[in-house]
Symmetry: C2
């Protein structure tokens, strides 16, 4: 069988099942946005890493070297946000094509450095080598969180309300507009959402401090796939109300102008890096939810284990919400 | 200017000079084998990462998938050894070519897992994606060391004796024998040194506990290059006595059988992952040095700042020891 015949998530499960633990201090290992390691009385350690490959994760036709550097850091910061944590250190490994000029390499480093400074993250190490074909970047971020307080993917309970921050679908539509060389204010907004996603660090911190979030993940692969990760980790089902899933005005206008199906990118498009989280029913309508630093929207609720994951239309009809988000091996 | 016109180490220096620190807890950042972060009263955190690219760091003609997995972990463990630390967690990021079969991927994971178990390291996270061309592996290891006790590259003092563990040149000659499809017991020994280098973790721990090592680095790029890193970090010079640099019998016999210059791989060949360290003169002849868990050899001594780095021949003649070890951009 070739690599096409199995899922990225099967492989991760295999590694997790085969991994032997030699540590009492590992609170959460493979299978969440970050690993959580008990470190001191004051803080747990958060660790996240992503390996980005040219031609797979980014295309140099649409991304400048500076944008590649910025985004590599931002997507990892989003994993720290998804645990309610504070990022502290970044480690950067680069494999650079020989065709890159010194100016291009400097632009890449500038993108990494200015992003690190903007989020007060210290670049503490890394590795540089050459690449024979496309370039590769690996970013690792270390962060901290109050002991045993990291918000995990598991923990959602039946009846909890499902929320998402900001709007969905923008980044995925933005990529399409890059490919079609679209311009104009809406196109620029959507492309910026693809180039420089905003890690929801402040929101993550407030949610942790409020103490009522039961489970959380960031939307990197797409709502349908990331909701499935959260539900599988929590052992629950869910229903999403189609008409409540938030999208931006720029997204709506662009879909309409190009006669695109609005649902596709909202439900399955990745890379928005918004936070998807669950809160107990009694909190869902409280003032606290309305005064968060980023607008959040209730899009559904958690169902009992075994009931599946559904999309509900305004007329009450329900369809299975299949995970059509990004999987590297499908 | 193209990438050929500057050094890997220039680039690292540039990143270090541009990196802004937002942390009081970072004891040692860019420019040592590991980053050292003050973490609790009981331990400092060690962090090391390496990004390995197919065709640059390993060639699938000479390495099985299992060997690639093993070595990826071992070279990172060596960085923990070079600080005197204890490895605890590994994070593995893979970008896998579509041409890999499930069996090949499983062999790669098997190599990683069995190595992790052999060194009692817990695999705690990572990332899997596809690669359009060659595969890439990024390994990050977290370790621990007694607070403020990590052995750094800086700290060597004038008059200190320079030691190296084991033998040098084997791994580099082993690679050559793979390319020439040589077999026989000597060839197998040398190839194994290339396939499965031994991270000198136990030696590193004993050296830290003894407390008399002033500076240390692992020999990954080659003696001439890694000695230069140690000297630059310490602000000193050094002299290496050519006839004292240790090589294995297999190495000596193979060089002689093929009429190869013995000096080349010993002085400049990388990937032996032995430890290169300095100790005060009065310790150098003590019993303690003779009863270490790995044989170590005194190969020279530390000279004052500004005197340079030399190779001394048996007749007393000295040549500059130019750093001809591996540099990705030369």
């Amino acid at each position: 069988v070739g690599a096409e015949d199995f899922s990225e998530f099967d492989l991760i499960k295999n590694i997790r099942d085969g991994a032997k633990s030699f540590s009492d201090a590992l609170r959460t290992g493979i299978g969440d946005d970050c690993a959580v390691i008990s470190s001191s009385m004051k803080a747990d350690l958060l660790v996240t890493t992503d390996l980005l490959m040219e031609g797979v994760h980014f295309d140099r036709r649409w991304f400048s070297l500076e944008q590649i550097g910025e985004k590599a850091l931002r997507v990892n910061l989003s994993d720290i946000a998804a645990m309610g944590g504070i990022p502290e250190y970044a480690f950067l490994s680069l494999a650079l094509s020989r065709s890159l000029s010194r100016g291009e390499i400097d632009a890449l480093l500038e993108g990494v450095q200015k992003t690190a400074e903007a989020f007060e993250v210290t670049i503490a190490g890394g590795d540089i080598s050459k690449a024979n074909t496309g370039m590769a970047l690996s970013v690792m971020i270390l962060g901290r969180v109050e002991p045993a307080r990291a918000i995990l993917r598991k923990g959602a309970r039946v009846g909890d309300r499902l929320f998402v921050s900001g709007t969905l679908g923008d980044a995925s539509l933005g990529l399409r507009l890059m490919e079609e060389a679209e311009s104009g204010p809406d196109a620029e907004f959507l492309k910026r959402r693809q180039w420089t996603p905003e890690p929801r660090l402040e929101l993550g911190r407030v949610l942790l401090q409020n103490g009522w979030v039961s489970a959380m993940i960031d939307v990197s692969d797409g709502l349908s796939s990331d909701l499935r990760h959260l539900c599988e980790a929590s052992g629950v089902g869910a229903v999403v109300r189609r008409s409540d899933v938030p999208c931006s005005e720029a997204y709506r206008r662009t879909c309409s102008a190009h006669a695109l199906d609005e649902a596709m990118a909202i439900l399955h498009g990745g890379e928005d890096y918004e936070l998807l989280f669950t809160v107990p029913r009694e909190i869902a309508n409280s003032q606290a939810v309305k005064s968060l630093p980023v607008v959040v929207t209730c899009i559904g609720e958690i169902l009992p284990s075994g009931s599946g994951i559904f999309l509900e239309y305004p007329d009450g009809r329900r369809d299975v919400l299949a995970p059509l988000g990004y999987d590297h091996f499908r």
